[in-house]
């Protein structure tokens, strides 16, 4: 796990707490159950003290004692019941909130979109969604209920003890608040030290993780044995320094324990002395003695839950880090309606630079895309071809200039509605862990099978799909069959033929195909292009020749644009590349 800045953890902690408090029903129920528990503890210990008194000092009259035995047993049963309910409420609260966070993550990722997601490792995101959220469990199931208990049970007990035996109440009054004060100190000074140390433990974990994940780099430099020794040394050094810190840090924990157990001892001695002096009756003394550990128990539980709470908060900090990520602001004047197709798209002086490096990618691009036209874009790697496709999909917004759709500004359209008009076939399309048919039907989930087959045929995918073990029902994706780049693209192409969207964006659709297939697919596209915009990035002669218009991008501007057969001879080998031309 990545290490998180301490103040972010503290922030996350209070935010998690607030989120818990918003679950009013649960919080009130836990509060109510805790108050009841306090009362039941009083009943339990009172009846026990009566029984002990009767057995030891008074005369034991079975009939008179029977009700007290019943009360004792009943109190224990009710107490157990209340513990059960409180635990259940806490766990339930955790489940409800975890579910809520998981959905929030899902929606956030959806809104962030693929361009921003590219900077994240998929594994990290999955791990946050699964393990990260799961680590919040202890925070809600233990820490929050423990905090409510510490605010209720000791108060009930203290109030009652004040009433029956105020000197003992005074002992509680003096020592009770000491514990939260010490706990506050744990939460700050010594706690900071422990926390710092846990953080460096995490850093050491990170070092270990770093080493293992960087094994390829280590091996390439022949340093794998050295790194193994270094793990040993780092771990040993860490233990030595940590133990030095813990020796001091644990002292504060000891003070907490000491406060609880010494106070119990003080109550015992103080009650004992007053009994000897005959200043109080035995039954009352027994009663308050039995209550002493119960008074301190919630504090100790809270102290123990504190650590769990901190770990949860650390996970929370990572969670909030993702949830607070900036996303697209939908324009205030966003119109709900799109113009109806066919579309004409016009790019005017579009500029864009990478947000992190501020490197200029597009430096005033002018381009017009007409319906019924296959428009091919070519240019060297890194010249911003893919960036242009992202702009058209509204994954990113231009820094300046405008994109007009039928004369209206693209930035005013809601992204979801707009993307629905587009199909995008990337160079290496993603295969979902579903069947071939379902993978094609992502474009149109309700399409009948014959249409799916038709689309596959148009994409020249039908034959190889038929040859797969289960035909259209063959499972694909991580747990299924793996396909080659060309096959993937043809599946994605079938997807777009099925969806029949007015705009089709293709990123090097022919890169993995032989010339024959390339020609066939271009024919399909040609037919499909009627009334549609097809924008394609390509470097292949046949694709270029089959398109209606060719534009060349260089240094962030369109340097040439026109009929392919007129432009083609002037282009350099490295831009338009085909075996025939080289051989």
């Amino acid at each position: 796990m990545k290490s998180v800045h301490p103040h972010k953890v503290a922030e996350a902690q209070s935010r998690l707490f607030r989120d818990a408090l918003h679950q009013r029903g649960f919080i009130l129920a836990i509060f109510f159950v805790s108050v009841l528990s306090g009362l039941v503890i009083l009943a339990q210990m009172y009846s026990l003290s009566i029984l002990i008194d009767a057995a030891f000092l008074q005369e034991w009259i079975p009939n008179a004692m029977q009700p007290w035995i019943l009360i004792l047993v009943a109190a224990i049963l009710v107490r157990a019941l209340l513990v059960w309910i409180r635990t259940w409420l806490g766990m339930r609260l955790a489940v409800v909130l975890k579910t809520e966070y998981r959905k929030k993550i899902l929606r956030k990722l959806h809104r962030l979109g693929p361009v921003r997601l590219r900077q994240e490792k998929t594994g990290d995101l999955i791990s946050l969604q699964l393990n990260g959220v799961e680590r919040l469990d202890d925070f809600f199931a233990q820490y929050v209920p423990a905090a409510i208990q510490v605010a209720t049970i000791p108060v009930v007990i203290f109030g009652f003890v004040m009433w029956v035996d105020w000197p003992t109440g005074l002992v509680f009054l003096i020592t009770g608040p000491l514990i939260p004060i010490f706990m506050y100190l744990i939460g700050t000074k010594a706690g900071d030290k422990i926390h710092e140390q846990w953080n460096s433990l995490r850093r050491m974990n990170a070092h270990f993780l770093d080493t293992i994940q960087g094994m390829d780099t280590l091996k390439l430099f022949g340093r794998e044995k050295y790194a193994g020794r270094s793990i040993n040394n780092v771990s040993r050094l860490f233990r030595v320094t940590t133990m030095r810190v813990l020796k001091i840090a644990f002292l504060s924990g000891m003070v907490l324990e000491l406060a609880a157990s010494v106070s119990t001892a003080v109550v015992a001695v103080e009650v004992g002395v007053r009994l000897i002096e005959g200043m109080m009756i035995f039954q009352t003394g027994m009663f308050v003695l039995l209550l002493a550990p119960e008074f301190y128990l919630p504090f100790r539980t809270f102290g123990a839950a504190h650590h769990a709470g901190m770990e949860g908060a650390e996970s929370g900090a990572q969670l909030f880090d993702l949830l607070d990520r900036k996303e697209h602001s939908v324009q205030a004047n966003a119109s709900k309606k799109l113009p109806s197709p066919p579309f004409t798209i016009e790019l005017k002086k579009v500029e864009y630079s990478y947000p992190l490096t501020e490197e200029i990618v597009l430096n005033g691009v002018n381009l017009q895309l007409n319906p019924g036209e296959i428009h091919t874009l070519t240019g060297a790697s890194g010249e911003g071809k893919t960036t242009l496709l992202h702009l058209l999909s509204k994954f990113i917004e231009p820094d300046s200039g405008s994109v007009l759709v039928n004369g209206r500004l693209l930035e005013n359209f809601p992204p979801d509605l707009w993307r629905n008009q587009i199909t995008y076939v990337p160079q290496f399309p993603h295969l979902f862990s579903k069947s071939v048919a379902e993978n094609i039907k992502i474009g149109d989930p309700d399409a009948p099978l014959f249409e799916v087959a038709e689309a596959a045929r148009a994409a020249h995918a039908f034959d190889f799909i038929q040859n797969m073990p289960d035909g259209f029902n063959t499972m694909l994706g991580e747990n299924g069959m793996n396909l080659s780049g060309g096959e993937r693209q043809r599946i994605a192409l079938a997807r777009s033929f099925l969806k029949q969207s007015p705009i089709l964006l293709l990123d090097e659709p022919a890169a993995s195909l032989n010339t024959e297939l390339e020609e066939k697919i271009m024919e399909s596209l040609k037919e499909f292009s009627r009334g549609r915009i097809i924008m394609m990035v390509s470097h292949r002669t046949h694709s270029v020749l089959a398109s209606d218009r060719l534009s060349v991008i260089k240094n962030g501007v369109i340097v040439e644009s026109g009929e392919p057969d007129r432009l083609l001879p002037g282009l350099k080998d490295e831009l338009i590349f085909d075996p025939e031309r080289l051989q």
Binding site: I76, A80, D210, M254, I276, T357, G382, S393, H430, G477
Partner: protein
Amino acid sequence: MNILKKIISELHRFKGRVSLSLFFVLLTILAGVGLIAASGYLITWAALQPPILDMILILVAVRFFGISRAVFRYTERLFSHDLTFRILQKLRVGFYNAVEPVLPAKAIRYRSGDLLSRFSDDVDQLQEFYLRVISPAFSALFFILLTTVVTAWFSLTLSAAILLLMVINVFAIPFLIRKKAGDITDHLADDFAGLSQFMNDHVQGASDLLHSGSHKNWMAEGEKAIENISDIQKRRTKAFSLESGFYTAVSHASLPASFLILLPLVLSGELSGLLMVAVVLGVFTAFEAFEQIGNAVQHAYETRESAERLDDITSVKADEKPKKLTTVFKPQDASISMMNVSFSYNKDRVLRHIDLVIGAGEHVLLTGPSGSGKSTIAHLLVKWFEPDDGDILIGDQSIRMADGASVRKFISVVGQHTRLFNTSLRNNLLIANPDATDRDLIEALTAVRFDDAFAKLPNGLDTQVGELGLRLSGGERQRVAIARALLKDTPIWILDEPLSNLGRAMADEISESVSELTKDKTVLHITHDKSRLNMADRFYAMSDGKIWFKRLPGPYRVSTSSKG
């Protein structure tokens, strides 16, 4: 290697420390029991109003227990944490040694990044095995024994009753609850796997989805997966919350049980009331020893799962085992030839009958669309994998029987994602050549034109590069990677898409310095960018695991070098 067995054997090695630590756990609980029992005894006796001098001993005992409990607890925490760190150290080293031979092959083979991103959680889980499983389990057993023996001295019935209650608490409840929850938990694992799969599609296929227009259905599917987990967890809360209720009921039941069993003895005068109070309260407090047992059982289950996953990473299948390597690897020159090489991951054929020749000192460009198998060729050359078929020669010597490390001595790789370790810039460079002086390092940085960026670094070579080197820009990281290759100074360079993450201007600049620095080297440059053609003597194009086009030594480099 079985990781759990390893931990237990490590514990055996530390038996002195383990015993000390356990001893203090017991003392802590004993002091708690003593405090309550002695306090009860004290005030009961006090009710008889004896002379206070008679009570000195019990007063001292109460004070002693009151103070010692905290001290014992403190000592115990120190010992157990020290022990945990010691185990952790052994565990890490052991795990490292176990995965070192199988990485990075295994991580590449199972493409999902999951394999390595989960394991740090799993190692975290294991490190607390002693603290959270062994120690509570041991103290629970000890207190069952101790209480049974001590109470037997007062009454056999009491002893039997308490034994029964304790056994219910320690054995029956946690295991029954987990048996009940077990079936549910199995479903949970499936549903987590389902959500993980969904997330993978959701992130990787984000752009496919957003364009599909059916993302509403898709989101509904995702929320459904989350709801499924939530439903199962809700069912599980019913089982798990029962545990704490049962635990409270059973441990508190010891109060009326021991009271009622001892009552006749007190009434008949066989047992003093003082002792009865002490025993009733003491026995009740002893149940404190079982507080953690539910967690311990839970933790044990989870630890077993973690250990299984870790075993999975470290396990080596027969076909992945390195063969006995006999040859001393001493290639005559830096030429490379791959002859009829085929290779597959699991069942997918990645390379089919590859023939590829690079003469010593030649620059060869290998291009092809993503997923066509270009990088796999590089993986085979550095021996992450062995080809299924065919042979690879370096300097006319087959690398098949040579040890991977000795082959890699001749090869530098600059990849797409340069991995920098979270340490100083100096250490990141030194891994390429531990003997290099600061001057060598700065020379290398200057050669790759990192000098301007270097001047801006706050602490020069001591600058921390940050987690995964993210504090440096993409171009800077690639320059550091090239500097490292320079420092390693090998005759063969493999460039695997080193420029593909950079903008055009930056890519051109770096490309230029690389061609200059590798003038006399054998270079295999893998790229999907055909505009780099002018850098090559020879040119191969790949698609779907096959080389479908090659251009023999041609005028490219000659013409450009004559130009420059």
